[in-house]
């Protein structure tokens, strides 16, 4: 299980077609702007360095008030023309890049509907056949090489989906629907974060995108479509009783059980995810226990309440949650 450190959240190391286009534009713009910056700074230094020194008593030279200074004017004219030419180059670069971004081929794209909540992501993999649709949270798995159309909707405030290694960001705005088209060209795990300030835990609202070969994607999707497995050993079965008896069922869904609430993330395949709490903590028994016991300690202000379970119930619940592959 790769730890989050190797995740790439870097706009300069593109792993997707869209980020690559923008990366090219970035390199060109950076070069042009650096040249212009150096030119102006050098011009200023030369102008100030070569001019003779003076002090407050030096008689001011007011010759320019009588007649226009043609020589200086010609230089300023050329400099302005060069500036305008540079701006046109930038404009052209932007227009061509936008066209390239818009022309991403979308044949047999994966259709994901992403809903932003206050401080986690709900993802629903759509399909022509509704029975093949499934819901997951905070982590997306996408096939390498196949385009992905992400339909963005917000359920409360404005969020913004930004996975720098794959593509630019797009806002999720309540009352509006946006779409983001991207494609992963290299396998790997790419990390993204909410980029529009959305309240107390805006900083800890991350999203992992696993780009996997198409065959692995199909296997993963097939597994996601299955309801939760029946727990075999006694501890897991007791854990399920605890889950269904306490407040977990008020917010979470585990398909295959009576828990069907959609306030919190879908936990049907919780154990198949690398992280918990919107990509913030590794998904192991220790963090899970700490999170269930007192989520406010890890993410103050989050809507999940503290659960004061007796220790053996908690251990049983953890055992059950770990069976939800």
């Amino acid at each position: 299980m790769t730890d989050p450190a190797s995740n790439m959240q870097d706009a300069l190391r593109a792993a997707g077609a869209q980020a690559a286009h923008i990366g090219d534009l970035w390199n060109g713009t950076l070069a042009l702007c650096t040249f212009v910056f150096v030119a102006i700074v050098v011009a200023t230094i030369v102008a100030v360095w070569c001019a003779p020194r003076a002090d407050a008593a030096t008689r001011p030279d007011t010759s320019s008030l009588s007649g226009p200074e043609h020589r200086i004017w010609r230089r300023i004219g050329w400099a302005t023309a060069a500036a305008i030419a540079g701006l046109l180059v930038l404009l052209a670069g932007d227009v061509f890049t936008s066209r390239a971004l818009a022309r991403l081929p979308l044949r047999d794209a994966v259709d994901i509907e992403l809903v932003g909540h206050q401080w986690w992501w709900e993802a629903r993999y759509r399909d022509a056949d509704v029975s093949r649709e499934f819901t997951t949270a905070n982590e997306l798995t996408i096939p390498v090489g196949r385009p992905v159309i992400v339909t963005l909707r917000a359920s409360d405030v404005i969020h913004s989906l930004w996975v720098p290694s794959l593509s630019g960001k797009k806002d999720l705005i309540p009352g509006r629907t946006a779409t983001l088209r991207l494609r992963a060209d290299r396998a790997g795990t790419y990390r993204g974060q909410c980029a529009e300030f959305c309240g107390l835990e805006h900083a800890l609202m991350a999203l992992l995108v696993h780009a996997v070969p198409p065959a692995d994607f199909e296997a993963w999707a097939a597994n996601q479509r299955q309801p939760a497995r029946e727990p075999v050993d006694a501890a897991a079965r007791r854990g399920r009783e605890v889950f269904l008896a306490t407040s977990c069922t008020m917010c979470h869904t585990i398909t295959g059980t009576t828990a069907q609430a959609r306030l919190g993330p879908d936990l049907t395949h919780l154990a198949s995810r690398q992280t918990i709490a919107a990509g913030m903590f590794p998904n192991n028994r220790g963090h899970l226990a700490g999170w269930i016991g007192d989520p406010q300690a890890l993410k103050p202000g989050v809507n999940m309440p503290a659960n004061t379970l007796p220790p053996d119930d908690l251990q049983a619940l953890l055992a059950y949650l770990e069976t939800l592959r």
Binding site: P174, A245, S247, T249, M250, L263, D294, Q296, G301, N303
Partner: protein, 173 residues
Amino acid sequence: MRTIVVLACVAALAGCEREQRPKHAPPPASGLTGPSYPTRAVAQAENRYEENAWAVSQGKTWYRAYNCNGCHAQGGGDIGPALMDAKWRYGADPASIYATIAYGRPNGMPAFAGRVPEDQIWQLVAYVRSLSGQLPSSIAPSRNDSISAGKPEARRSKEKVRPEPPSNPGELR
């Protein structure tokens, strides 16, 4: 100029309490737990959440999230009784409402103790009291980003509470 600032501080000290967000979830307002609690509260438990605007707005979130509006509508009443009027069958004080939510009432009010965590029940209690204008307008929630259900709680005038004897369990009204 200084007097204005001092006055502002003193008058607005309530502001600190009103605006407090959770560093950690504050412990439940009072120790009223356990099923053996009598149906009509004797002790007037004081719900600290009623001075905290953030907690009352959380109560409004749970009211919709746990489908209280399924029976009580937006407080106007449907299958369940209206919550925004002055008639209270089981007591209008926080402790009685806590008991109603936690341990249920005859004629269909389910018991949520164990399902809904305790501090969320206290937030619901604070919100339910704001439905009938019991809370000051600076604390009661304003409108939601949803279809408008009449006046926001902050703009409602305070209902004069008239206790109503509980109907006999099982009696068809």
